[in-house]
Amino acid sequence: MELDEISNLPGHVVDQILSQLSIREAVKTSVLSSKWRYKWATLPNLVFDNECYSFSSLDQTVVKSKLVNIVDHVLLLHNGPIYKFKLSHRDLQGISDIDRWILHLSRQSIQEFILEIWKGQRYKMPSCLFSCQHLIHLELFNCLLKPPSTFKGFKSLKSLDLQHVTLAQDVFENLISSCPLLERLTLMNFDGFTYLNIEAPNLQFFDIGGVFNDISFENAFQLAVVSIGLYDKRQSHAYSSNLLKFFVHLPHIRRLEIQSYFLKYLSIGFVPGKLPNPCFNLNYLSIRINFNDVDEVLTALCILRSSPNLQELEVLARPEEQAAVGTVTNIKEDNHWSCHQLRLVKIFGISGIKPELNFINLLLSTSPGLEKMTVKPASNNGGWELLKDLLRFRRASVHAEIIYMDP
């Protein structure tokens, strides 16, 4: 009889092995031998996803009840602390069974909670979730949040990811400001609130995409990576200068992505030639822009001029708005400005109109360190003309390589 090596591994190593398996495979090990009987039951991380159960039944009720059964059983047989609980199954609806599981978890010191409701209505989070004071990571998909009045915030929460969620305005503001350790915040497709007032002193990473009226940061000086997409082009709000207001609270920004119509939002109000406080740390910038909108182009240029250490730039033209040619922006002047650090530029989706060419010309003539510029037009129409123009532009960098990609 050979020695049973694997069963004699230290407990934490066995845990590590089991945690690499899907919950189904892990539970299955309990029939192996007496030593394996309850090894799985102390696993601190429970993940119920498509892996844990994939029966090819199209019937909702079957799938639902099986899933409920599995989670029930596992939670009942489980023994010991649960640090991570993830529930994300493509056939999962917001059923009341989840309330019971969350109640169970809220009595443990759960640290990581991930719930993704793939189907049906928003699932209303039970109030017991808001008492999980050990939470470090919270991720919700298709949920409705309505914390009880006694909710005092998540004191340990570092990472919050909310997608397809509904929150009232005051709930949202209270939630963000009462998580003092929050470092990462992701918000996608939300409703119930339209003013984003972000007050999070430790926030470093912020990714947002949705419809909102206004955004402002307050005491969020650690922010380094920001990606903002505004999905609605109707701009109602106008401060004296959205641009100044936005950047004044982002002194440490390193990466910035301006997506969808957010540049349009920034272009509202006064656009200075340069920001009063340059973004010294910004080394990556991605902007989606309508080149026919003079204000947007000026806003983009203002950001560029205020980013002396920018190394990588990505410009995505919004194709749907390229049609009407308005006043041609004249941007060739600009005497005292150059992008010294700029090495890589990508310009995608252009159609070869004058403002685009001016913009490219400007970049080529003011970037002495440029190594590579990749240009990819939206369509093949006028490809040759575009190429001819590109060839003619003077380049400040002797190393610059222009790569033309077929659409």
């Binding site: 090596e5 189904r24 299955k28 031998s33 159960y53 009840s65 059964n69 059983h73």
Partner: protein
């Protein structure tokens, strides 16, 4: 003794006089970087001009430094410092206790590290301690590195853990998980030489809970069969798995149990086993008649019994939950209490059919070893996949092998 003197001098720099130049030079040539630094510091402190130049000249030509390691079997070997220091446990020993600098002061490694495994671990360290390797290179090395039999892989995991070499533990435990993944319990037992020390009864308990892989469902059937034989042989009446009892309840059962609305849930049924069983059996037979044709195989039968079991509770519960209720019960296909009625069913079949079923079950046991979907195809080869609606008001339909002959 020199060693003592050196150590003392490090903590009481003023007493360094007890060391002569030769001693310090020797100390400088010691393998451990930590010592070298300390001694260099001493030299610079006490005899800045006369010593350091000469000493530096001796040390400069980059002597390879070694660390002495002793495995549990007593064998001692010397290992390049930078390789050995890659193991946190060795590194800690060197810094905290100052051992490893000579053969007499070799670091004794944990019990779990035998010489052969140490060789492997050092190969791993030797590769990964070199800075500047690309991720791809490292990945390729790792993939090749873990190609070994499972016994060795386990030993390696254990040894790496005892040396606190976390990246290697991560690598090997991932590899072990990949080996376990997708295997049947029998295969896993065979692969890792696990003792098969659970009774069939015990094996059944947890399997009941992860119902829905059809493989497991069929495996359950297989176990159920064995269990039945077992039962007949040992004339055991009620088995003692009572503590698992509660798991069998479906959600609605549990709720109705809590609400006290329905005393006749599965959980409480234990006591009324006999009476209930009779009723279920009758129902089973009835359903046989109603069925597409009487020619079903066991699996269908199992579903039936489960289904009827559900139905049994169902009438007492709110009709809104009816269909989900049924599914719930179907999910708990096998529980020892249900005494599902293989025997009765088999009795209804003609002997030829029965024989074929037996063959099929055995056949299936063999096929369990391989990946599910292909095997399923094979298993059903030459047969039609027919979704069977088991119950008028149930929306459940499953693919079941229907013998068309």
């Amino acid at each position: 003794m020199f060693w003592k003197a050196l150590k003392k001098s490090l903590y009481h720099p003023n007493k360094v006089k007890s060391l002569n130049k030769g001693h310090l030079l020797f100390a400088l040539s010691l393998p451990c970087f930590y010592w070298r630094c300390k001694v260099q510091f001493l030299i610079n402190l006490h005899c800045p001009c006369q010593m350091s130049e000469g000493a530096m000249a001796v040390v400069k030509p980059e002597m390879k430094s070694y660390i002495w390691l002793q495995t549990a079997d007593g064998s001692i070997q010397q290992v390049e410092e930078e390789v050995a220091m890659f193991c946190p446990m060795i590194c800690r020993e060197v810094i905290q206790t100052g051992t490893g600098s000579s053969k007499n002061y070799a670091i004794s490694l944990p019990q779990r590290v035998n010489p052969a495994i140490l060789g492997l671990i050092l190969d791993y360290c030797r590769f990964h301690q070199v800075p500047g390797r690309s991720n791809k290179e490292r990945k390729t090395f790792d993939e090749k590195f873990i190609r070994m039999d499972t016994k060795r892989l386990c030993e390696l995991t254990s040894a790496a853990d005892s040396l606190q070499l976390k990246p290697l533990v991560d690598l090997t435990s991932r590899a072990l998980a990949r080996i376990i993944e997708g295997k049947t319990p029998e295969e896993i037992r065979e692969t890792f030489h696990l003792p098969d020390d659970l009774t069939e009864e015990e094996k059944l308990e947890p399997l009941r809970n992860i119902t829905d892989d059809p493989r497991i469902r069929l495996l359950n059937r297989l176990y159920a069969r064995k269990r039945k034989e077992l039962k007949e042989r040992e004339k055991l009446k009620n088995v003692e798995v009572e503590e698992e009892r509660v798991d069998d309840r479906s959600v609605d059962d549990l709720l109705s149990f809590i609400n006290g609305g329905d005393g006749d849930t599965k959980g409480t049924r234990t006591n009324k086993n006999k009476k209930k069983n009779r009723r279920r059996k009758d129902q089973s037979k009835d359903s046989c008649l109603n069925n597409v044709n009487g020619n079903h195989n066991e699996e269908m039968h199992d579903l039936h019994s489960a289904c009827h079991d559900g139905e049994g509770n169902n009438g007492l519960l709110a009709s809104a939950s009816t269909s989900s209720k049924l599914q719930d019960s179907a999910a708990v296909t096998f529980s020892p209490k249900l005494e599902f009625d293989d025997g009765d069913m088999d009795d209804d079949l003609d002997p030829a059919m029965k024989e074929e079923l037996d063959r099929e079950v055995e056949d299936f046991a063999r096929r369990l070893n391989s990946v599910w979907p292909e095997r399923m195809q094979e298993l059903f080869q030459g047969r039609k996949l027919v979704p069977i609606s088991l119950n008028g008001n149930s929306s459940m339909s499953r693919y079941t092998s229907l013998d068309q002959r």
